[in-house]
Symmetry: C2
Subunit: 124 residues, 2 copies
Amino acid sequence: MDVSFAVNRERPGFAGGKYPADCSSRIVLNHITSRWGVLVLLALERGTLRWGELRREVEGISEKMLASTLKTFEADGILHREAQPTVPPRVDYTLTERGREVAMRLMPLMDWIADNADDIVGER
Amino acid sequence: MDVSFAVNRERPGFAGGKYPADCSSRIVLNHITSRWGVLVLLALERGTLRWGELRREVEGISEKMLASTLKTFEADGILHREAQPTVPPRVDYTLTERGREVAMRLMPLMDWIADNADDIVGER
DNA sequence: CAGAATCCTGTGAGATACTG
DNA sequence: CAGTATCTCACAGGATTCTG
């Protein structure tokens, strides 16, 4: 595990360590860290998925929240929605380049959580 | 092995790409991505802070939510609380090693958000 | 199949006041 | 200074029904 780069690093992001209440960063952060945001992102990171596949993949999500999460990410340019005009309809969701950038930065965190969650919760 | 659904499941995290609804990973994920979790973690990543400093640093957080967020992280072993028995009281909050591991994995994401948030929100 | 429209609820979260 | 203790409520989120 590489620790070297994080120590005493001058952080330019977030205006040098401040977190203004009404900045666009907070908005985007809230989109990504919304209840289902991370899970949807991670599911799509492995490739295109249809609506129904997403519902099954992101266990527990309601249709309403799936729709809402997908819409937010589409508006943010994080994922691309492609509807085929067939009957029955088929809709594919794919991460955009921007979405892949986010997902990529999410994965080290998710892997760490997967590795440590049992310890953390179990301790209690 | 089930070939039909085993497309390219090689991600080790999250038990091979599934996200069980009631797993400890979800719990820890929710703690970290709670409304104020990321911001508190990031504030403490630069070093120990006192209660009052945290309140000012994490702009907009209420006392109730600060207390609640800190308690959750302390119970998770993500931060350490040290109270001096002085008058007036002084309490320091510091990330544990575990907390530093989380914060470290959060920073690439936060830096990306800081760099791209204006584009994302502005587009709309 | 992929949603939209409704209705409803729990609780995350804010405001205020108080205290060791 | 560093917190509790209440009160309150908006809204995120769920359940159900309907449809092109």
